[in-house]
């Protein structure tokens, strides 16, 4: 059934008044101490380079700059971040001696304000020796690949194999083996608010006091404390009252907590840092990219009897906590929604020169389901079965269900959800739509996906990455507590503290509703405090906003605390009303005995009694002023000796189907209809559940069709703006039909299960399956790589129309390589032009943006040049060497430019030919490559910018050679055809 939002419970949110009127406080809105310094970070433009030297003398001399801190200084007051698997690499939050990804922090400047701090970055000169970049995860495992971490012999961070049931026998017995190989790309849910940290250090005993928009899990707290070399109690970590979205991503602020805390200690001043968008896209955190080979042993009817996973997980430059969690979060769910008893797994973690990975909505799910559900479709294709039948025959049909790898699916009715979705979602109509479209010659396809969405992570699942022997040595890890505290103040009003660190999901509203219901109050009478303070709150390592734990886990703790409080208050009331506690009714802000509402006492009087009149309490009763409950599901056990792991507590079910149409000319994919069926257990707030589904769906549409953290083959980061990383707007989001069934979880006190991540797992592969179905009549089985951009789809469509006559196709380029050529005519003779080109003083006037040209030797020129590419204008040091000189006819120029905004290198050939009228035709061609910030944010604009600069150069050359500006129009012909 679909919820009718007119009648369902869609209570307005407590949070919204402040958010809508601009008074809500986010991290950058918080007051900070007088004397606070503002940080800016200089980042590596190289994917891989040794840091030879850092000259910050000019930066230090800039008025307003208080400190300049590099990796060496950082290492004196801190330790590397702990690594989750037992390998000896050093994970620093700022490069020490060697930078391993574009955007890695190299130097922090602390100054009186942010503008000055950023000015100072431009004055720091870092000398790098570039090292070979390692970008492709499979190539990184090659024996000859350059090794990122000198402590290791290769780039393999961890390898484990697992075997459940008897997969080999199942494969031998099966008539067919069907396999897919997929590559899941890098992307992120990119919250609209970037990271922010306020850090202070008290050397006299209290240690660090940090405010950050960190989201948890607080298992990271000990990692931070250890890196800062203090005990946990000397690291107070607080979150801001509001956070501008997270979706997992703000877990990744923690290395910056360490970095800014260390800076505050070194500078002996409070420090504030707010990340900018370029920093966020380039270097905050990313979902893992993964290469998966997945094979199934299949019966003729499509029943799968065994799965063989071979996964290569690319965690970027460092195996940073809590990785390799992305890979192991789904370890108990590797057979998805299917009843498959035999399972073989090979997991390899590889490090490459990319941004380190971390939490991101869906966390491991998109990577798993992209392989599994593409495989299910491939099975249907190869066996010529209806993909619906393949899914239906494999669906788990009884609950609770134990998966091959050891997880218990707590509740569900997958077959019913599937049938209801097909019926209420009008699947039959979609089939007709496809028939009609195809009959009209259009490219239309239908995709299907079934997925299990785990929630409430077992804090011990990560230890599955260790061998049983390693686990035995380090001790078992398991569990997932939730904590809630309810306090009563002297006037009997109620405050609830929760451990879920919401990032916009309305936790306060739902918690207030629950507590007020138990205590017979109105929601608005209950204040819920969600900002988190490790110095004052009840919390455990499981606290935080991840694995969709709030509704199932934190609310169970709230329920427990509310029930206990109610029970104790009922005893006080029973004494005053001369009745039994079990007969006490809490309603309408008052308390009375069942059946006797006339004789009532106000709730406030009972609730404040412990403050004012402890003498009125029953004799054996402690004062009732606060109740803290720790809820702990015992089902979340440590991994077994056989590597069985109950990786999550609750399991929701999703079944999606969609229809897409592909534009035959442009290759653009349009989602025509999308239906998503959810069983997330008991729905506690229909409006918020729908909000979670729609939000995840929109992000998944972005991941399906538009978004990718793309890297060049040299490791240059190519998606540094929202123009290069195109997050969908309202115009790109298709209509979504949402359906529900409810099978409450028997393991949570609320019956709720997670709902926030499901569509991030199911939608990308559902869209891909639909695209594959659309292409199938023409192309058969296809391998698809997300995002499904028009350029990628065009490869499967008919060849482009023939190019116009005389068109020269551009030479193939790789990464942000630039090539171009052109010709210009000027009135002066070749010798005059040659003389101009060889004269540094003349060149200074001709080169656009040059601040002076020097000639250190006969065949070398150096210049300081200001160049603008799109939004990025900066100063570069340019060195050009001349060779193959043939005066006054031709020369080869080899150049290198470097600046704070990036670097480039290239070659160009210039030829001068005398024209019949005595003038000169100058012909040139060039090939260049750029990296660093300028490639991240200006990639799309580089060609145009290069052409403009070259155009300006020849305009100036023509003007100078011809003597007068007025001659320009007559003398100069611009016929560039740069590509």
């Amino acid at each position: 059934m679909a919820f009718d939002t007119k009648t369902a419970d869609v209570e307005e949110r407590i949070e919204d008044g402040a958010l809508l009127s601009g008074s809500a406080q986010f991290i950058d809105d918080l007051p900070f101490a007088v004397g606070t310094l503002h940080a800016a970070i200089l980042r590596s433009p190289h994917a891989h380079a040794s840091i030879v030297s850092i000259d910050s003398s000019r930066a230090r001399a800039l008025p307003g700059v208080a400190a300049v801190i590099d990796g060496t200084a950082l290492a004196k007051v801190s330790e590397p971040l702990m690594v989750g698997v037992k390998i000896p690499i050093k994970c620093w939050p700022m490069a020490v001696d060697r930078a391993r990804y574009v955007g890695e922090p190299v130097v922090v400047v602390l100054a009186e304000d942010r503008y000055v701090a950023e000015d100072a970055l431009d004055l720091i000169e870092v000398t790098y020796t570039p090292l070979p970049p390692v970008i492709d995860p499979e190539a990184a495992l090659d024996m000859n690949a350059y090794v990122l971490h000198e402590e290791l012999e290769n780039n393999l961070g961890s390898e484990r194999t697992f075997r459940y049931g008897d997969p080999e026998s199942a494969r031998e017995a099966a008539p067919r083996c069907i396999a897919v190989k997929v590559r899941y790309p890098r992307n992120s849910c990119t919250p609209m608010e970037t990271y922010g940290v306020l850090a202070e250090y008290d050397p006299h005993g209290t240690g660090y006091d940090i405010q950050a928009n960190f989201q948890g899990p607080f298992s990271i707290h000990p990692v931070i404390a250890r890196a800062l070399k203090v005990s946990g109690s000397k690291l107070r970590l607080r979150t801001a009252p509001n956070s501008g979205g997270s979706f997992g991503v703000k877990q990744g602020v923690f290395p910056y907590i360490v970095l800014m805390a260390a800076c505050a200690r070194i500078a002996a001043r409070p420090v504030k840092w707010i990340e900018d968008r370029l920093e966020h896209l380039t270097a905050s955190v990313s979902a893992t990219n993964r290469v998966v080979e997945l094979q199934a042993a299949v019966e003729p009817d499509g029943r799968v009897t065994a799965l063989f996973w071979d996964q290569i997980e690319d965690v970027g430059a460092y195996l940073r906590a809590p990785e390799p969690a992305t890979l192991y979060r789904m370890h108990g769910n590797l057979c998805g929604a299917y009843d498959i008893a035999n399972l073989s797994v090979r997991n390899r973690i590889v490090m490459t020169n990319k941004t380190p990975t971390g939490l991101n909505r869906g966390f491991g799910g998109p990577q798993i389901y992209y392989a599994l559900e593409r495989l299910m479709q491939r099975i249907a294709q190869e066996l010529e079965l209806d993909p619906l039948d393949v899914i239906r025959r494999n669906l788990i049909s009884s609950f609770p269900y134990r998966t091959a790898s050891g997880t218990t699916y707590d509740s569900g009715d997958y077959v019913r959800a599937f049938d209801v979705a097909l019926n209420d979602g009008r699947y039959g109509e979609l089939l007709s739509r496809r028939d009609l479209a195809r009959a009209a010659g259009r490219i239309y396809g239908i995709g299907l996906t079934a997925a299990v969405e785990p929630s409430v992570s077992n804090m011990g699942y990560l230890s599955t990455a260790l061998t049983p022997a390693q686990r035995a040595k380090s001790g078992p890890k398991n569990g997932a507590h939730a904590a809630a505290t309810i306090s009563l103040d002297p006037v009997g009003s109620v405050t609830v503290q929760i451990d879920s660190v919401p990032q916009g999901q309305g936790h306060q509203t739902v918690a207030a509703k629950l507590v007020s219901g138990v205590l017979g109050l109105r929601s608005k009478d209950v204040r819920v405090v969600a900002e988190f303070d490790t110095a004052k709150d009840a919390w455990s390592i499981a606290a935080g906003n991840y694995s969709s734990r709030f509704a199932a886990s934190t609310l169970s703790a709230v329920q427990l605390a509310a029930d206990r409080l109610r029970h104790r208050l009922a005893r006080i009331a029973a004494g005053q009303l001369n009745g039994r506690p079990e007969d006490i009714v809490f309603a309408g802000g008052r308390v009375h005995l069942n059946g006797n509402p006339e004789a009532s006492i106000s709730f406030a009087r009972i609730a404040s009694a412990s403050h004012w009149a402890p003498g009125t309490l029953p004799d054996d009763m402690d004062p009732v002023v606060r109740e803290t409950a720790i809820w702990s599901p015992e089902e979340l056990a440590a991994p077994t000796g056989e590597d069985g792991i109950n990786s999550s507590l609750c399991h929701s079910f999703i079944f999606d189907f969609c229809g897409v149409e592909i534009d035959a000319v442009s290759g653009q994919v349009r989602v025509d209809r999308y239906v998503t069926m959810h069983d997330c257990g008991r729905v506690l707030h229909a409006g918020m559940v729908e909000g979670q589904i729609r939000g995840a769906f929109a992000q998944a549409i972005g991941a399906s069709l538009f978004e990718e953290f793309a890297y060049g083959p040299d490791g240059a980061f190519l998606a540094g703006t929202f123009a290069d990383y195109p997050v969908p707007t309202v115009l790109e989001i298709p209509t979504l039909d949402i359906l529900h069934i409810e099978t409450p979880s028997p393991l949570t006190l609320t019956g709720a299960k997670g709902v926030g991540e499901g569509n991030c797992m199911s939608t990308p592969v559902c869209v891909a399956n639909a695209v594959a179905d659309a292409l199938a009549p023409k192309c058969g089985a296809v391998d698809l790589v997300l995002p499904l951009t028009p350029a990628r789809i065009a490869e499967f469509l008919d060849a482009e129309p023939a190019a116009p006559e005389g068109y020269q196709p551009a030479a193939p380029t790789t990464g942000k390589g630039l090539t171009g050529r052109g010709r210009a005519k000027v009135s002066a003779s070749p010798q005059a032009i040659w003389d101009l080109l060889m004269d540094p003083e003349q060149l200074a006037a001709i080169i656009p943006g040059a601040h002076g040209v020097t000639q250190p030797s006969e065949d070398r020129f150096s210049a300081d040049v200001t160049l603008g590419v799109g939004p990025v204008k900066g100063r570069y040091k340019v060195d050009v060497a001349l060779s193959e000189l043939d005066p006054p006819s031709s020369a080869l120029l080899t150049g290198r430019a470097a600046g704070a905004l990036g670097m480039g290198e290239g070659t160009g050939r210039v030829s001068l030919t005398v024209l019949p009228d005595g003038g000169t035709e100058i012909a040139y061609e060039y090939e260049a490559r750029v990296g660093g910030k300028v490639a991240s944010v200006g990639g799309r604009l580089l060609d145009g910018a290069a052409r403009i600069v070259i155009g300006q150069f020849f305009t100036a050359l023509g003007r100078r050679a011809g003597g007068q500006r007025s001659l320009f129009a007559r003398l100069f012909v611009w016929i560039g055809d740069g590509k």
């Binding site: 501008g244 968008r277 929202f722 707007t729 939004p871």
Partner: protein
């Protein structure tokens, strides 16, 4: 035209949400930073600082401006309105804001300030605006939480209520 000197501060006088304010800023200071960190009106948010996300949208002399792409000195003499000015009185909400609340048209609320400014301006300048115009105005904003649909619904409801109010007035 006023002559500005790069490393000096210049006095800027403008009306912020109906009240005259004066402060100093260097020519390079962004209007977003000026409103937030100098004038202390923190309801306007900064999401990308390159003009794509729309979170920093404010009303400047009646028209919409990305405050992250506007210099503070450009606003000298202007009338600036921000999200803090939309509600009729403290503790209350405008028709549009109330509609957002009813339809869960926000989650984290970070992008909301800019979206409200755009939609409030649309409904003021084009009271007859329908779904197409609303989607068009909203297309200048990024929201990562809601999937946009509830925002469209809220704006359409607000448009209807405002139209009715106008008829009755």
């Amino acid at each position: 035209m006023r002559r500005l000197i790069a490393d000096q501060t210049h006095s800027i006088s403008l009306k912020l949400n109906g009240k005259p304010v004066h402060a100093e800023a260097e020519p390079r200071m962004l209007l977003s930073d000026f409103i937030r960190h100098v004038l202390g009106a923190k309801g306007t948010h900064v999401g990308c600082e390159h003009g794509v996300c729309g979170a920093c949208t404010v009303r400047m002399d009646g028209g919409l401006a990305r405050s992250c792409l506007t210099l503070a000195v450009q606003a000298d003499g202007a009338e600036i309105e921000t999200v803090e000015h939309l509600a009729p009185a403290p503790g209350s909400l405008s028709v549009l804001q109330n509609s957002f609340r009813r339809h869960h048209a926000l989650q984290c609320g970070f992008c909301t300030a800019g979206i409200l400014m755009s939609l409030d301006t649309l409904l003021h300048d084009h009271p007859e605006a329908g779904e197409t115009e609303i989607r068009d105005a909203l297309a200048g904003h990024l929201c990562r939480c809601t999937g946009y649909e509830p925002i469209v619904t809220a704006a359409m409801e607000a448009a209807k209520i405002l139209q009715k109010e106008r008829l009755n007035a």
